[in-house]
């Protein structure tokens, strides 16, 4: 019958129209600035730097290895290494980023920096309201703006942060065990040397090297070539 489908369609839209006033399921729109949906755990928008402890500057996990800077496809990360060193989470002396800027307007949220980082220092944030009225300075986030505590990381990505923490603790324990073993070996060596000094026949002590540091000193390249345009002078 011609026209039957039209009537059915009209009934359907009428049902939607009337239903939108009574049923929440028919009107799923979230009125954004007033209402918000809690961000998903898997959401990733823009990277941030993780720091441990209270002081963001002292606790930054980043060791300025510049791997992320090199891997970043749109080249939006700018790192300058520090001259002096400070101890990292294992207690080993490392350089740290004197400057660490990410350009929001260039970043494409690909998460590659997060994936290549060997120090779990850079992670993805769920914060998405990055709009600013300052076109240059406001879009180039420095390390202070990028730094967020490990607790914050736990609050936005609980599962992932726990895994990272477990891994870091394991590594730290391993390093400590190794250091302990090295110390013991050194002590044993010293004792052996002492013994050898007393008794002539020499006994070769077990050689124990401390844990090899990561490739922090590999890159000899100077500060990045591409410098971002600074804010209006």
């Amino acid at each position: 019958m011609l026209g039957e489908g039209i009537l059915k369609g009209l009934a359907e839209t009428a049902k939607n129209f009337a239903g939108s006033y009574v049923s929440k399921e028919r009107l799923t729109t979230v009125q954004y600035p007033e209402e918000r949906v809690a961000p998903f755990e898997a959401a990733r928008v823009f990277p941030f730097l993780v720091y441990d402890g209270e002081d963001w500057e002292a606790g930054l996990r980043c060791v300025a290895c510049q791997i992320c800077e090199k891997e970043c496809p749109p080249k939006c990360i700018y790192i300058e290494k520090s001259k002096e060193k400070k101890p990292d989470y294992v207690g080993k002396l490392q350089i740290y980023p004197a400057r660490f800027d990410i350009d929001v307007s260039v970043c494409m949220s690909c998460q590659i920096c997060v994936e290549v980082c060997p120090f779990e220092a850079i992670k993805m944030n769920t914060e998405f309201e990055l709009a600013t009225d300052d076109r240059f300075g406001g879009l180039l986030l420095d390390r202070q703006k990028l730094a967020h505590s490990n607790e914050y990381y736990h609050s936005i990505h609980p599962t992932e942060a726990s895994e990272v923490d477990a891994r870091l603790a394991e590594e730290k324990a391993k390093a400590e065990a190794k250091a302990k073993a090295a110390a013991e070996a050194a002590a044993a060596k010293a004792a052996a040397a002492k013994a050898a000094a007393e008794a002539k026949p020499a006994t070769p002590a077990a050689e124990a090297k401390p844990a090899a540091p990561a490739s922090t000193t590999e890159s000899k390249s100077p500060s990045p070539a591409a410098k971002p345009t600074e804010g209006e002078k």
Binding site: M1, L2, L10, T13, N16, F17, L27
Partner: protein
């Protein structure tokens, strides 16, 4: 009291022009009426746009505009300010004069139609003997502006849109006209005032609206379909099919000229809704004899708004037709039915009104409708297209 409320605008007009010398009174009353029409319908246009956006939103399970003012009721104001402050771009190669004239011609033509519409008892600007003809003449001249817009823009999409619009409007103009000819046959008058008067009787409390007769019902349905096509509304909005030809004939219009086109389209919709109301829904007459105390203009504008709401509902429901479906439907289905409807109207006239006549006329139209729909669907002429090789 009832009489006063009904005639309030007429009394107001007489009081207003009473201040002038006698020689000027006629001219002054015409000017005042024109000003009122030009003020009322754009206001109604703003209301209808808001209604459409909110209503369509609700049909698609979302809120419509709800940011400007409480519940978004100031959205039309914001839209108006936006279109006024936008840059008016005229294409470099465009025929500047025609390009400029097209929206004006459209708006003037659609507003001319209101001159003859009876918007209430004694509320018509001109009581012409051939007002129906006048309305059609004005309705047809909107096609000119559409073609002017499409041609002068020197843009292939504009031209395509204009060609589509012209083809569609001319095809459906025939149906529009022939379906209202049945009304003229029964009332024996081309005057819209007389047509309303002919429907303003009551039997057992029910009105003598033409939509309640078999030929009137069929005419009404065809009129609604044709008017949807005439005003380029969905599902007949091919001339401005956004997915294919950007915006059709007003692709190259921006700023206030675009707003004028938009206004013209909606005011044309009011015009045709008011016209259809006058022809089939009894114009300003009340739907029940017990409701005759309600002022007549309330009934007229209520019916027009109801018609607009139905248009919005249709737009929220139906997808756009294809050009061949559009043409097949017009010439192979709607036109034969309209012609048959004329014959039935003649039958009604000669058999005299009565239950038997009603049943006979209804049976003829219903059988014809079912048969034509069946055969048409079977041959794939008006229904879904059957593909020979693709399936």
């Amino acid at each position: 009291m009832v009489e006063k409320a009904d005639q309030i605008f007429v009394t107001l007009l007489h009081w207003l022009v009473g201040f002038l010398p006698t020689g000027w009174q006629h001219l002054a009353s015409v000017v005042v009426c024109v000003v009122v029409i030009i003020a009322v319908y754009p206001t109604l246009f703003a209301l209808a746009v808001l209604l459409e956006r909110k209503g369509l939103g609700r049909m698609q399970n979302r809120y419509g505009p709800n940011r400007v003012g409480p519940f978004g009721i100031l959205q039309p104001v914001a839209d108006g300010i936006k279109s006024l402050t936008k840059e008016d771009v005229v294409p470099f190669r465009a025929d500047a004069l025609v390009h400029f004239m097209a929206p004006l011609v459209l708006v003037v033509a659609v507003f001319m139609g209101f001159a003859v519409l009876p918007m209430g008892r004694n509320m018509e600007l001109v009581d012409m003997d051939a007002s129906l003809l006048f309305f059609f003449a004005m309705g047809a001249s909107t096609e000119l502006s559409v073609f002017m817009a499409g041609w002068s823009s020197r843009n292939k999409y504009s031209l395509l849109g204009a060609m589509r619009a012209i083809a569609q409007m001319i095809s459906y103009e025939v149906i529009l006209l022939l379906s209202s000819v049945a009304v003229v046959m029964i009332t024996g008058s081309l005057s819209l005032v007389k047509i309303v008067e002919a429907q303003n009787h009551y039997t057992w409390g029910l009105p003598h609206w033409f939509v309640l007769t078999p030929w009137g019902l069929m005419g009404f349905v065809l009129f609604v379909i044709a008017s949807t096509a005439e005003t380029n509304r969905s599902p007949f909005d091919l001339p401005e099919g956004e997915s294919e030809i950007i915006a059709g004939y007003f692709t190259e219009y921006s700023g206030f000229k675009f707003a004028l086109f938009f206004l013209g389209e909606y005011v044309g919709m009011f015009g045709i809704a008011g016209f259809g109301t006058t022809l089939f829904l009894g114009g300003w007459s009340a739907p029940l004899s017990v409701l005759t105390w309600v002022p007549s203009w309330i009934w007229f504008f209520g019916k027009v708004l109801l018609w607009i709401c139905f248009f919005i509902w249709l737009r929220g429901t139906l997808p756009r037709l294809r050009q061949d479906q559009l043409m097949n439907f017009a010439w192979k289905f709607a036109l034969p039915l309209t012609l048959l409807n004329l014959i039935v109207a003649a039958l009604w006239h000669f058999m005299g009104a009565g239950v038997v006549t009603w049943l006979v006329c209804f049976a003829i139209l219903a059988i014809a409708y079912v048969l034509m729909a069946r055969t048409g669907l079977k041959r794939g002429k008006i229904g879904p297209r059957s593909y020979r090789y693709a399936e």
